[in-house]
C-alpha cells in the first residue's frame, strides 16, 4: 500500500500542495504558514509530547554524544554551509554577488538544524533501535539552542555596520545563557507543576490542565526572553513527570497521555499540510546555482560532520557507533518546518534575497522529507540495522537493573572511582531524601521505585484482565504457573470455592434471601432463624454465576504478579457476609460448619499495600480454626462498622479481598490514596 512506501509526512505535504493549488486555482490567496502560528501554537504540543515521554535512561546515558552532535555538529554545519555558499555567491555571477557573508551565514544557520518534527514523523514509522532513535531525536531537540543563538546573532549583526571581536565573544557566551537559561526556566516551571499536583487530590479533574498550562508557560517565558523555548519545554516535561505521575490519578494520566498524543498529531499534520500550501502560495525566486549548491553542500556537510564527530566520540564511548549507525545518523538529518518558519521571519528590509532563501529552504526540506524519508525504510532493511525490540517491561528486568545499578555503584566506590554510577546514586539519594518529600503527596513520597513499578505492573495487568472480560478469552501468553509451582509449601488453592455441604448452602441461601428482601431496611441484627419461604432462585443463580466469574478472574490473577490470593471464600460470599451485617460479626463458637470470614481492613500506611494477610493459611476453608491459633492466618475481620446502611448484598466493603480491591480501584480510581469514603462501590448503595 502507499503508506508503507511513502511516509505520512510526504503524503501530507502532497495534500497541502493540492489544497494550495486548488485555492490558487479558484483565485483566492492561499494562507501561508505564519511564523507566529507555527512557533506559538503548532510547535509546542509536539515538543511537549516528546519531552514528557522522553525515555530518560537512554537519553541520559547518551547525553554526551547527543550534545556533541547537537552543538558541535550544528555549528559545523552552519559555518561550513554558510562559508561555502558565500564562496558560491561570489562566483555565482551577478545574480548572487550582492549576498554578503553574514547573510550566507544566517542562511547556513537556518538550514543546518535537524528538525524534530520531521525526524519524529519519519523515525516513528521505521522503528529503529532505541539508541539511534534517541541520538538523532535528541540531537534535533537540543540543537534548538544553537539555532536560536546563531539566528539572532547573525540577524543582529546584519544590521550592524561592523562586527567586532567583542560581539563574537558575547555571542559565544550568549549560547550558554540561552541554553542553560532555557533549561532553568523549564526546571522551575516543572518543579512548580510538580508541587501543584501534590495538592490536587480533591480536584482530580483539572490535574491534566496543570501539566499543559505550566509547560506552555515555560515555553512562552523562555521565548519571551529569547531563551531556547524547546529546551525549556523539554526540561519542564522531564522534571515534572516523575513527581506528577506519582501524584495524579490514573485517569488523569490517561487524559494527559491521550491529549498530548492528539495535539501533537494534529499539529504535525497541520504543519506538513501548511508546508505544502505555503509552497504553492509563496513568492519564489528560483536560482539554479544557489539551490542546487545548497542542497549539495547540506548533504556533504552533514556526512562530514557525522563522520568526524563519531570518530571523536567513539574514543569515549563504550558502545561504539558502527559505520552503519553513522550512516543512519547522517541520513536521518532531516530538515523541516522550523527552518521554513525561521526563513519566513526574515524581513525584506535587511534581506532582499529572502525569497531566494525561502525557495532554497523549501527545496531542501522537500528533498530531505521526500527522498530521504522515503528511502530510509528500505535502506534500514537493506543494511539490517537493528530494529526496536518490543520488550515488555517485566518485574524481573526491573529487579536486575536495580541490582546492577547498585552493584556498579558499589564497585565504583570500592575502586575509589567517582564515575557515572556514583553521581547517579548520589542524585537518587538526594532525590529520595529531600525532593520527593516536597513534591509528592502523602505516602507515595516514601515509596521505593521497585514497589511503585510493581504496583504499576499489577494495575496494568488487572486492567487488562478486566477489559478482556475475564471469562473465556484467556490470552495465550498467560502461563499456568501459579504459586504452587514455585513454593510447594503454600497450601494449594484448589478450593477457592469451598464445596459446601447442604446445610451451609441452605444457610447461605437464607442469608441471601433475608438480605435481598431487606435491602431497604436497616438491619441491626442478624438472625439466621428467620426463614423466608420465598425462593430467590434467580438471585442465587446470579450469585453462582458471579462466583464462577470471580473464580476464573482470581485464577488468572493468581497467575500474574498479583499476590497469591489466599482467600477462604469467594469475594461474592464475603460480600454477602459483610452486606448482611454492618456490625462486627462475632464468630460463634459452635458454628463449626460456617467458614469463618473476617476481613482485615486495608492498612492505612500504604494505600496499595500488596498483601496484608499472612501468607501461610492456617485455618483453611471449611475447617474451624484450632483454638490455639490466633485470629490471624486467614481470617478476615469485618471492618468496624463498615458503614451503616451497607445493607446491599453486593456492596463490597472497602476492605475487600486485595485483587478485587485493586480492581475496584481501577474502575473507580480515587487516586493514589483512596480515603475509605471515596471508593465507589460496584453497585450504588441502596438509599
Amino acid at each position: 500500500s502507499v503508506s508503507s512506501i511513502v511516509p505520512e509526512s510526504c503524503l501530507l505535504i502532497v495534500v497541502g500542495l493540492l489544497v494550495g493549488g486548488l485555492i490558487k486555482g479558484v483565485g483566492e490567496k492561499p494562507p501561508i504558514l505564519k511564523s507566529d502560528i507555527f512557533f506559538l501554537f503548532l510547535l509546542p504540543p509536539i515538543i511537549l509530547d516528546a519531552g514528557y515521554f522522553l525515555p530518560l535512561r537512554p537519553f541520559t546515558e547518551n547525553l554526551g554524544t547527543i550534545l556533541i552532535f547537537a552543538v558541535v555538529g550544528t555549528l559545523w554545519n552552519a559555518f561550513f554551509l554558510g562559508g561555502l555558499m558565500y564562496a558560491v555567491c561570489q562566483l555565482g555571477g551577478p545574480g548572487l554577488n550582492h549576498i554578503g557573508l553574514l547573510a550566507n551565514l544566517l542562511f547556513g544557520s537556518i538550514i543546518s538544524a535537524v528538525d524534530p518534527v520531521a525526524v519524529l514523523a519519519v523515525f516513528e514509522e521505521i522503528h529503529i533501535n532505541e539508541l539511534l532513535h534517541i541520538l538523532v531525536f535528541g540531537e534535533s531537540l537540543l540543537n534548538d539552542a544553537v539555532t536560536v543563538v546563531l539566528y539572532h546573532l547573525f540577524e543582529e549583526f546584519a544590521s550592524f555596520e561592523q562586527v567586532t571581536i567583542l560581539d563574537i565573544i558575547l555571542g559565544f557566551f550568549s549560547f550558554f545563557v540561552v541554553s542553560l537559561g532555557g533549561v532553568l526556566v523549564g526546571v522551575i516551571y516543572g518543579v512548580i507543576a510538580a508541587f501543584t499536583s501534590r495538592f490536587t487530590s480533591h480536584i482530580r479533574v483539572i490535574e491534566p490542565l496543570f501539566v499543559f498550562l505550566y509547560s506552555y508557560m515555560a515555553y512562552l517565558s523562555a521565548e519571551l526572553f529569547h531563551l531556547s523555548g524547546i529546551m525549556a519545554l523539554i526540561a519542564a516535561g522531564v522534571v515534572m513527570r516523575p513527581y506528577v505521575e506519582a501524584n495524579i490519578s490514573h485517569k488523569s494520566h490517561t487524559t494527559i497521555k491521550y491529549f498530548l498524543k492528539m495535539w501533537s498529531s494534529v499539529s504535525e499534520t497541520l504543519i506538513f499540510i501548511f508546508l505544502g500550501v505555503s509552497t504553492v502560495a509563496g513568492h519564489h525566486y528560483w536560482n539554479w546555482t544557489f539551490v542546487i549548491s545548497t542542497l549539495f553542500f547540506c548533504l556533504v556537510a552533514r556526512v562530514l560532520g557525522v563522520l568526524v564527530l563519531t570518530w571523536f566520540i567513539n574514543k569515549f564511548r563504550i558502545v561504539k557507533l558502527t559505520p552503519k549507525d553513522q550512516f543512519i545518523i547522517a541520513y536521518g538529518g532531516l530538515r523541516g518546518a522550523i527552518a521554513f518558519s525561521l526563513g519566513y521571519l526574515l524581513d525584506y528590509e535587511h534581506f532582499s534575497m529572502r525569497d531566494m532563501f525561502l525557495t532554497a529552504i523549501i527545496t531542501v526540506i522537500f528533498f530531505t522529507v521526500f527522498v530521504q524519508g522515503m528511502t530510509i525504510r528500505p535502506l534500514v532493511d537493506l543494511l539490517a540495522v537493528k530494529k526496536k525490540q518490543e520488550t515488555k517491561r517485566s518485574i524481573n528486568e526491573e529487579i536486575h537493573t536495580q541490582f546492577l545499578d547498585h552493584l556498579l555503584t558499589g564497585i565504583e566506590d570500592i575502586c575509589g572511582h567517582y564515575g557515572h554510577h556514583h553521581w547517579k546514586d548520589k542524585l537518587n539519594r538526594f532525590n529520595k531524601k529531600y525532593v520527593k518529600k516536597c513534591l509528592i503527596a502523602g505516602e507515595r513520597s516514601k515509596e521505593p521505585q521497585l514497589i511503585a513499578f510493581y504496583h504499576k505492573m499489577e494495575m496494568k495487568q488487572a486492567i487488562e484482565l478486566v477489559e478482556s472480560g475475564g471469562i473465556g478469552k484467556i490470552p495465550s501468553a498467560v502461563s499456568t504457573v501459579s504459586i504452587q509451582n514455585i513454593n510447594p509449601q503454600t497450601l494449594p488453592l484448589e478450593r477457592i470455592l469451598p464445596a459446601l455441604s447442604k446445610d451451609k448452602e441452605e444457610e447461605i441461601r437464607k442469608i441471601l434471601r433475608t438480605n435481598l428482601q431487606k435491602t431497604r431496611q436497616r438491619l441491626r441484627s442478624y438472625n439466621r432463624h428467620t426463614l423466608m419461604a420465598d425462593p430467590y432462585e434467580e438471585a442465587w443463580n446470579q450469585m453462582l454465576l458471579r462466583r464462577q466469574k470471580a473464580r476464573q478472574l482470581e485464577q488468572k490473577m493468581n497467575n500474574y504478579l498479583t499476590v497469591p490470593a489466599h482467600r477462604l471464600d469467594s469475594p461474592t460470599m464475603s460480600r454477602a457476609r459483610i452486606g448482611s451485617d454492618p456490625l462486627a460479626y462475632e464468630p460463634k463458637e459452635d458454628s463449626e460448619n460456617l467458614p469463618i470470614i473476617t476481613i482485615d481492613p486495608a492498612s492505612p500506611q500504604s494505600p496499595e499495600s500488596v498483601d496484608l494477610m499472612s501468607e501461610e493459611p492456617k485455618g483453611c476453608s471449611g475447617l474451624p480454626p484450632s483454638p490455639e491459633e490466633d485470629e490471624e492466618g486467614l481470617v478476615m475481620r469485618v471492618k468496624e462498622p463498615s458503614s451503616p446502611g451497607t445493607d446491599d448484598v453486593f456492596t463490597p466493603g472497602t476492605s475487600d479481598s486485595p485483587s478485587n480491591q485493586r480492581m475496584l480501584r481501577c474502575l473507580s480510581d480515587p487516586g493514589p490514596r483512596p480515603e475509605p469514603e471515596e471508593g465507589e462501590p460496584f453497585i450504588p448503595k441502596g438509599q
Binding site: I318, V319, K320, Q389, T391, I395, N396, E397, I399, H400, T401, Q402, F403, L404, H406, L407, L408, T409, G410, I411, E412, D413, I414, C415, G416, H417, Y418, G419, H420, H421, H422, D425, K446, P448, L450, I451, Y454, S479, T480, V481, S482, I483, Q484, N485, I486, N487, P488, P492, E494, Y560, L561, T562, V563, P564, S606, S609, V610, D611, L612, E615
Partner: protein, 201 residues
C-alpha cells in the same frame, strides 16, 4: 597478568594504589577492610558485594566456599569482570565475555552455592534491595519476589501443571532471562579518570 585479565598497566597501577589504601599496606584484604569505605554504607546490597569478592567461585579457584582474605591478584580477578567490551571481539569471545559477567551476577544471587536461585534466595535479594526503606513491610518484598519468580518460571519453563514444582533458577534459565538486556555493555566500570581517587577514613 595484564594480558590475561585485559586490563592495562595504567589501570593496574591505579588499582594497586587503591588496594594498598584499603588493606592499609598489608598484602591481603579481609572483609573488615571494606568497612572503611564511607560511600559503601549507603549501598543496600553491600553485603552481597563484599561477599562476592571473597567468593571462591569468582576467584576461579577450584574449591567452593568463602576465602578469608584475598590478595592483589584476586582483587584484580574480581575487577576484571567489570572491564568494558572491546571492539575487536568476535562472536565466540563475546559470548564467553557475556557468560562470565552473568556468572558473576548469578553467584551473587545464589548465596548458598547450590547452583540455582531458590525462591528464598530471590526473596532475600529483593528484601535487600528494598532494605533502604525501613518502614516497608516484609510482605511487599516477598510478594514482589514471588511474582518475579513466577514470571521467571513462565519464561523458562512455559506452561506448568499444578503439580510441577519449579525448583529454582538455574544458570541456563538465568541466561534466558537476561537475553533481552545487553549485559556486556551495561556491566562495566570506566577506569578512565585515574585522578579521582576517593579516600577512605
Amino acid at each position: 597478568l595484564s594480558s590475561s585479565l585485559a586490563v592495562t598497566s595504567e589501570q593496574i597501577e591505579h588499582l594497586h594504589r587503591r588496594f594498598k589504601q584499603l588493606s592499609q599496606d598489608q598484602l591481603t584484604i579481609r572483609k573488615e577492610n571494606f568497612d572503611s569505605i564511607p560511600d559503601l554504607e549507603f549501598n543496600p546490597i553491600r553485603g552481597k558485594i563484599v561477599h562476592a569478592f571473597f567468593d571462591k567461585r569468582n576467584l576461579r579457584q577450584e574449591s567452593d566456599g568463602l576465602a578469608d582474605e584475598i590478595n592483589f591478584e584476586d582483587f584484580l580477578t574480581i575487577m576484571s569482570y567489570f572491564r568494558p567490551i572491546e571492539m575487536n571481539m568476535d562472536e565466540e569471545q563475546l559470548d564467553r565475555f557475556r557468560k562470565e559477567k552473568l556468572k558473576f551476577l548469578f553467584h551473587m544471587y545464589d548465596s548458598d552455592h547450590d547452583g540455582k536461585i531458590t525462591l528464598q534466595e530471590y526473596r532475600n535479594v529483593v528484601e535487600e534491595l528494598l532494605s533502604g526503606n525501613p518502614h516497608l513491610e516484609k510482605e511487599s518484598a516477598r510478594s514482589i519476589a514471588d511474582g518475579a519468580m513466577m514470571e521467571a518460571a513462565s519464561i523458562c519453563v512455559g506452561q506448568m501443571g499444578p503439580d510441577q514444582v519449579y525448583e529454582g533458577i538455574t544458570f541456563e534459565d538465568f541466561l534466558k532471562m537476561w537475553q533481552g538486556i545487553d549485559i556486556e555493555t551495561k556491566m562495566h566500570v570506566r577506569f578512565l579518570n585515574v585522578d579521582t581517587i576517593a579516600h577512605c577514613y
